[in-house]
């Protein structure tokens, strides 16, 4: 076992601990902070797994912007989670265990972790690795694939973000104008 996999397992163990902590606590501010740590640790895991670009994005967007959005929501809603009466933890546990068991069963015949002979490395990846520096002319293969070979994916992504932006503005913009009317009525 080399150092990489030791760090990998340690970080994943930290993530598991934080995940359990998020289940246990009821203070939503604490949940937002723990979620930020969870996200940052996952960025560390991505770095260990040689995915530098993903780690950058996760640290900036996942740990940063998500947390800010969550905190902004908390300023407008309650700070504490109330104990739920209608929820039965046993039902949730059964659902989770069955789903988890099925997923573990489903992944049990995957090629072992890090196997260079795995089918995922045999299809288009060798072409991206060997040809993209010559064809596109930039050393970062992830950027070449993102912006050129799979440029349409990125265009679709931009469309989704644009739509989400419009949705957020529609949801929160209407609220502001209505509040203004309410204020006028009070006056």
């Amino acid at each position: 076992m080399n150092l990489d996999s030791v760090i990998d397992i340690l970080l994943l163990a930290f993530m598991a601990v934080i995940a359990i902590a998020i289940v246990r606590i009821r203070d939503l501010f604490g949940i937002a902070m723990l979620f930020s740590i969870f996200s940052l640790l996952s960025a560390g895991v991505f770095t260990v797994m040689d995915a530098a670009d993903v780690a950058f994005t996760e640290a900036a967007v996942g740990a940063g912007i998500s947390t800010i959005l969550m905190l902004a929501t908390l300023t407008r809603t309650a700070r504490k989670e109330k104990p739920s009466n209608s929820k039965n933890p046993a039902v949730a546990l059964i659902v989770v265990f069955v789903t988890g068991a099925l997923l573990v069963f489903g992944t049990s015949d995957l090629p072992r972790f890090g196997d260079p002979q795995a089918p995922v490395h045999q299809h288009v990846a060798p072409r991206y690795i060997e040809e993209s520096p010559k064809e596109i002319g930039i050393p970062n293969m992830v950027t070449s694939v993102l912006a050129s070979y799979r440029g349409y994916d990125t265009l679709g992504e931009t469309t989704v973000i644009f739509t989400a932006g419009i949705a957020v503005m529609a949801l929160l913009g209407m609220r502001r104008s209505r509040r203004r009317e309410d204020d006028e009525e009070i006056d």
Partner: protein, 117 residues
């Protein structure tokens, strides 16, 4: 042992299931969304795990390096992270609207007001 060689996938599944548990068992909408985001991050880890090559390096061209990790999962997950945050933003603004209409972000109280359950 086969089970031990897949540790990354198994921990990712465990984290995803903790996220799913939060979504199912929690009554607070903000916490539910946090659980959903946790599930999402676990799926990212699952995908990136598949791109790992033993002895490979970051997929940036370096003189003399022959073995790189697979860049394709990285690209897919880069897209997924950004889209994930966009959908989280929509979900959270929906929570703000719900909180304004019902005065609460707790599922039980919303159902009570609706008399649906």
């Amino acid at each position: 042992m086969r089970f031990l060689q897949l540790y990354n996938y198994e921990i990712a599944i465990f984290l995803a299931m903790v996220g799913l548990y939060i979504v199912v068992s929690s009554g607070n909408l903000v916490k539910k969304i946090a659980g959903l985001s946790m599930f999402q991050i676990s799926v990212f880890i699952l995908y990136i795990s598949m791109g790992v090559v033993e002895g490979g390096t970051v997929p940036i061209l370096i003189e003399g390096v022959q073995r790189y990790s697979n860049p394709l999962p990285h690209v897919l997950i880069l897209t997924a992270i950004v889209v994930g945050v966009a959908t989280t933003a929509v979900a959270l603004s929906l929570v703000i609207r719900i909180n304004e209409a019902y005065g609460t972000a707790e599922e039980d109280e919303i159902h009570e007001q609706d008399e649906s359950f």
